[in-house]
């Protein structure tokens, strides 16, 4: 359960209870969209919007929802906001919609959105629920952007589509960088995500390890064995 203070909640969702590297939620989109920073940015902004507003909506009507309809109500609310995003993109940002339509639709199935409604908004007042949805989205966004920077840079030699590493062309000899083919494929996100989980856990566990030092080695040598 995340903290109900604004600062504590922000810290929880960005670090100590991050939806990606602690709760391991939203992995499908982490693998799918992170080979391109533009797509990742749009997808994560859409998710921040949907999570925040879904949370505040379910929090507002939480006293009215019958137990049997709890999850279906949450799904209707998530779908409502996702379809709103889809309609707005289709009408006013058709180029972005052309590239991202499939993934925007899949926000409905993103575990983070329903997870936050079920774990937090269902039991807390609207304002802090909105904040929880917003910060959960930010936690998701931060991890995806880190992975996207690495994948786009090593996979295409670009950041936001702008060339950073000129790609080597054997025909005219221009450029020097050979793109890492694996970074373009979803498999690379598995490796990077595992690395991020390892790094985050190592950082989190470091102070705990310092407080409880291992027993002194002399105890093991009492019996005469070196």
């Amino acid at each position: 359960m995340s903290s109900t203070s604004f600062l504590g909640n922000l810290k929880d969702n960005l670090w100590t209870n991050n939806p990606i590297f602690i709760q391991i939620l939203g992995i499908c989109s982490t693998l799918a969209v992170t080979n391109n920073l533009i797509n990742t940015s749009i997808m994560t902004v859409a998710l921040v919007f949907v999570t925040a507003f879904s949370n505040v909506t379910i929090s507002l009507i939480r006293e009215l929802v019958p137990r049997k309809l709890r999850m279906i109500t949450q799904t209707v609310i998530i779908s409502f906001y996702v379809i709103i995003v889809d309609i707005l993109l289709r009408a006013y940002f058709p180029e972005i919609h052309k590239n991202l339509a499939a993934y925007v639709g899949l926000i409905i199935t993103n575990c983070i959105v329903m997870g936050r409604m079920e774990a937090f908004a269902q039991a807390n007042p609207p304002l802090i629920s909105f904040w929880d949805g917003f910060t959960s989205g930010l936690g998701y966004m931060a991890v995806l952007l880190v992975i996207a920077v690495i994948r786009e840079l090593l996979g295409f030699g670009t950041l936001f589509g702008v060339t950073v590493f000129p790609i080597y062309n054997p025909v005219d000899g221009s450029g020097w960088f050979t793109p890492w083919g694996i970074m373009v494929t979803p498999a690379s996100a598995f490796f990077l995500l595992a690395g991020i989980i390892w790094a985050a856990k190592a950082l989190m566990n470091r102070p705990v390890a310092a407080k409880a030092p291992a027993p002194a080695p002399q105890a093991a040598t009492v019996g005469g064995k070196a």
Binding site: N36, I72, V76, S79, V171, G181, T185
Partner: protein, 205 residues
């Protein structure tokens, strides 16, 4: 009223559906003309891009697109639209064709010179390919390499390794890394669009 009673549950379910679906329906209907207009402009942009009348680096307003589109002649033959553009002595033809991609149909406007010896260019209208992978068929570097590429035995193939992009006579284009199936679909698109265009051109009066 008891929140878990059957009556309450039915009323709540009905009201929830009503409250959330009505605004969606309104939003859909309000934006419908805008979406239809965008779709029409996207089609015109695609046709103009396929004839090389617009460039990726030069953004154009919707009005400029509509004005420029007046230079294109449009005919419907057997339910297929054929777009014709005349430049001096030369005549170019384009059509809208669909091929199966990895996740769904890829629809594009493909243009040809009158002798169908080359692809003049291509502009993708819609697709469902993977963002960052197959979706790169819309990017300028991909389109640029296939402009004026010759057909060899009625086909254009895809290379897994980088090719000499200045050679437009070998009938080969570069595949997209990690999107071989989409690249193959584009080769298939050229094959079927050339065959279909050959039939259509014969019928133009």
């Amino acid at each position: 009223m008891n929140k878990n009673s059957v009556i309450y549950t039915i009323i709540f379910g009905f009201l929830t559906a009503f409250i959330f679906v009505v605004p969606l329906s309104l939003a859909y209907n309000v934006t419908k003309p805008v979406v239809a207009f965008n779709s029409e402009i996207a089609k015109k942009r695609a046709v103009l891009a396929s004839f090389g009348l617009t460039s990726a680096g030069k953004p154009m307003s919707n009005q400029e697109i509509a004005d420029l589109y007046n230079k294109v002649d449009e005919k419907t033959l057997d339910g297929t639209n054929v777009y014709i553009f005349r430049s001096g002595e030369d005549t170019f033809y384009a059509g809208r064709f669909t091929v199966a991609g990895l996740w769904g149909p890829i629809t594009a406007v493909v243009s040809f010179p009158a002798d169908l010896s080359r692809v003049k260019s291509m502009a993708v209208i819609s697709h469902s390919e993977t963002p960052g992978l197959g979706a790169r068929i819309t990017e300028e570097w991909f389109i640029d390499q296939l402009r004026e590429e010759s057909f060899v035995n009625g086909m254009i193939g895809v290379n897994a390794l980088p090719k000499d992009r200045t050679n437009k006579e070998d009938g080969m284009i570069d595949a997209i890394t990690g999107a071989t199936r989409t690249s193959d679909a584009i080769a298939q698109l050229f094959k079927i669009s050339r065959t279909r265009m050959e039939e259509l051109i014969r019928r133009i009066p």
